[in-house]
Amino acid sequence: MSRYRVSMDIGGTFTDVVAYDEETGRYRATKASTTPHDLTEGVFAALSTLVPQPNDISFMVHGTTQGLNAFLERRGVKVLLLATAGAGDTYHIARGPRMRLYDLHYRKPEPLLPLRDVVEVGGRFDPTGAELAPLDEDAVRAAAKRYAAEGFGAIAVAYLFSYANPAHELRTRQILEEELGDGVTVSLSHEAAKEWREYERTSSAVVEAYTGPVIRRYLARLEDSLEDRGLQVPLHVMQSSGGILRASSARRSPLQTLLSGPVGGAMGGVALAEALDRPNMICVDMGGTSFDVSLVVDGKPDISPEAALEGLPMLMSVVNIHTIGAGGGSVGWEEAGGLRVGPRSAGAAPGPACYGRGGVEPTVTDANLVLGRIDAEWFAGGELTLDVQAAERAVAGLGERLGLGTVAMAEGICDVANAKMAQAIRTITVSRGIEPREFTLVAFGGAGPMHAVFLARELGIGEVVVPRFPGAFSAWGMLQTEIRKDFVEPYFHVDEDLDRADTARRLAAMADEGLRALADEGVPESGRRVEHAVDVRYVAQEYTLTVPVHDADEPTREDFVEIVAKRFAQLHEARYGHANPGAPIEFVTLRTTAFGDLGRAETERLPEGGAEFPHRVVPVVFGGEPRDTVVVRRDDLVRGHSFDGPAIVVESTATTVVPPGFTVSVDAIGSLLVQDKEK
């Protein structure tokens, strides 16, 4: 009987798996080493401890960093780019900003293909989509010959105004398939990103062409081997937008899968916000070398219509994740007689001094270890034994140069690291007009819970939540999502010129398209719904805000423009701190999002336990003094347990550090709630 909903987060080093048993309502989590030669080996090594047989699985979703890694390591395929004659240098001009202002040696983000691999093709539309010059088909055929002769792996096609009229791009694909066969990978810019701004759209198509074949091959292999092992349900893939899709459709638009990995954590934050009835959350995910921050505002994920990777833009819905250069590996060092912590990281190799892999500089992890805030034997579930003496040597060395004792130096490194992380979070919230004091801090990832309470104190936040399975929170988050497909239609109109009947017709057509897509995803009719929105701005503004439209009929209302203007003004006020009621607005883009509910894993309510729990009391340094500190294993804590800091809660994937002045309790779903006693 299939009864397990399963999610997997396949990272570079570890594969996390979470399984939800629909019969008992229980969750379990585990991890295994990622096995690059055959990923299913690692997946099943982990799965076998949670689920008896593959055919016991009723639903499966996974997130992957395969495409992202191929991009970051520049392991994508060789791409030929076809562009409009006269504008073939668009991708390399890249709009020309200098992103580092005091750099005489500034270079633009490294493009994914050289200028010589751009072919200019005749053919031109005007802004309304009227043809000014026909497509030069001979040039396309010549490009096909070059593709075959020079070992390219994919073709991107990005013509001016293709969002207004895709005919030339579509005809180009037809010709390329005639010449090169159906198997050729062709990314059309209007399909990758149906929006204006040729550089950003071209870049989207190029990223898709560059990583698409890698993602497709990977998904096909994973699906095949899952099927071989007896999986009987379709595999779903986490999308950059925070929704999921069947692997078979993800293969058709691989760009959407690129940021699949880290998004699970942000969506877990959304689910947790609902479960705990705390609509505003700052989620921090801290690992060895990374520190990611995402926001949940009013119970909703923070989604942008645009993202960039290493400076290369992509027009697609993406959950905002702010990456800050910090983590357990951040190095403490001396400059001009002053202390610095980061942004340099010891990374995984050599890693912190305590890893015993040749690192000699003190890192944040070393400092935590010296202070007793990490249990040397329990770190990473006991998989890695830490060398306390090496950490002490490294910290003491820096302390000597700065005139500080070893313990003071260690606490200083942690204090500086915490202050810097807190300030980075504050700047993110300030630029969104959010007051962090009104938010709950959620901490996950291996190192997140170790620093979270200190960050909260710096930010004036009164409550920190450490969810169950903090090391596998991204995987848990994937079980809390639904199918999502985004549809975009450029629609440039100044308010007074708007043809409202036409707007309604277009939205209705997009709704049909969305509902059909949900049917293709196997969503039962009762679980299908669409949401509409329009991107709006004040005339002559550059940026737009996405304003909800209640249904496809709403534009037929007489006062539709005023309604949209009012909603826009409210959003503008919230986002930018002011609005301009009465000023003319312009419509830029119509958006329809289709959501499909495939049933979700319920949040597990835990039974209440007694008041007592096993623990040790050991000295740990806080505020320069060793303090008697409660050390407890998370597995020994159940709902209703409560105790005061200083305390340390250890589990196989994470360590939670609670300084004096805070109190810890375990809630109904097993989260640790850490609260400031004075708030």
Partner: protein, 552 residues
Amino acid sequence: MSIDPVVVEIVRNALTSAADDMNATLIRSAYTPIIYECGDCVVALLDDEHQVLGQSAGLPIFLGNLETCTLATEQRFGREVWQPDDVWILNDSYLGGTHLNDVTIFGPVFVDDALVGFTATRAHWIDVGSKDPGGSMDSVNIFQEGLRLGPQKLVEGGREVAAVIDTIATNVRFPYPTSGDMHAMIATIKMGQARLAEIVARWGLETVRAARDEIFAQTERLEREVIRNIPDGVYRAEGFLDNDGVDLTTPVPVKLAITVSGESLEFDVTESADQTVGPVNCGTAQTVSACRVGYKLLVSPDVPGNGGSFRPMSVRVREGSVFGAQAPAACQWYFSHLGLLIDLVAKALAPAMPERVAAASHGDSMIVLLAGRDARHGRDYVSLEATLGGWGAWEGSDGESALINNVNGSLKDIPIEVFETRYPFRITEYAIRPDSGGAGRWRGGNGVVREYVAQQDCTVSLWFERSTTPAWGLFGGSDAAPPEVVINHGRPDERRLLKCNGLRLKAGDTIRCMTGGGGGYGSPAERDDAAVRDDIADGHVSRERAAAVYGA
């Protein structure tokens, strides 16, 4: 007082972060894209002696001259003029150094009735009531350039001074967005005041002062270490602006001499041109800023600026010159000769620090202003664009092609799809301009070609510079091509010009703009053969030129 290095580092980060938060507030709340999109703004926290505690990166040309505004105010009215909950404004070119559009707003910070510092911000306002909308290219005195405010209170004891705000509103063309930007700046000042007060309250004034001294000392040590390695001597460089925009036949000389002795540097620009009739003049404060930008690019690009920065350097300016403008000199186009000056710092110091410098860039904003009434909907339009160009090569790398110039920060070009939708033009070519970068072992970046075809009658104004002194090469690298603009290319009525104001065009007329490249670095004879082949394949260098220059 001796102070814990951990506290110093936490306070240092808190001050920098407070400046970042002020900047985020300004960008978030500003009404006009020149602030929130182009970043034509800057913020700073100052101590009570007008020394910088923290500042945002901001527009480089504004580097470190907010303190001159608080200092000038104090010198004029006395120290007791500072009162809690006041906010001040000024935009006088001869005090702030820049054009009247750049408005500085600042306020004192008090903790327990004691003055502990200031917060300040400067941003570009889209219009301050000059003779032409937004500012003119041919003004001849400051009275044509709009409303000129000496230091005065905008907020007094927490209440806005209605008369001053009303005066501003009646003197600018777009009072609504201008008021929005002004209030965004006031909000920025208040947020900075609160943040600085919080830091002082948390650590105590004595500790913050001790931390400040140590932070400044660290910065000074880092900078002096670099300067110590520059051999003593006098380093000179010079160049010319084509003209001042009004008298189109007379070049404007810019001359720089840098004297290095031990751990200090003196910048001397006194031999540069007398102030001009046209608007390429600036106040001394802005000249100091430009020298600081040139210095920072070479000496301390990665060190956040503070009161310890620039201690080893001094600047000599001659009053009545283009760098020390006196009333009533026109200052609207105050940045063209400053951009040149910044480039000249690297040229002068090239022999002393060859691995840190770069050859020159295309160097100016290369402005195209198109205006008219769009017959498609009957509405008026004005489009103002800066055009990208090439940057200079350096030891180890070619220069970048098609990049915005130094004084425009992180400005992006306008996409063809956006431009043609908004304005009645077709852009038929937008490309990297081959052979425009200087040849060298490391090749200068190329400029661009951007060709507009008017679909309706309209007017065009242009400001293209640096044809007299195109981007120079270094150490045997060649100079780059100068800019060119051709109206009606290849037609009997073809004409070439670089500057004009309100030139009328007919439907079907074309404007072909070509910007200069960056200079080359090292002898072209030493360029790697494979790099020359790649340049030809990529279209950066034509076959003919490759044969002529590189013997390929």
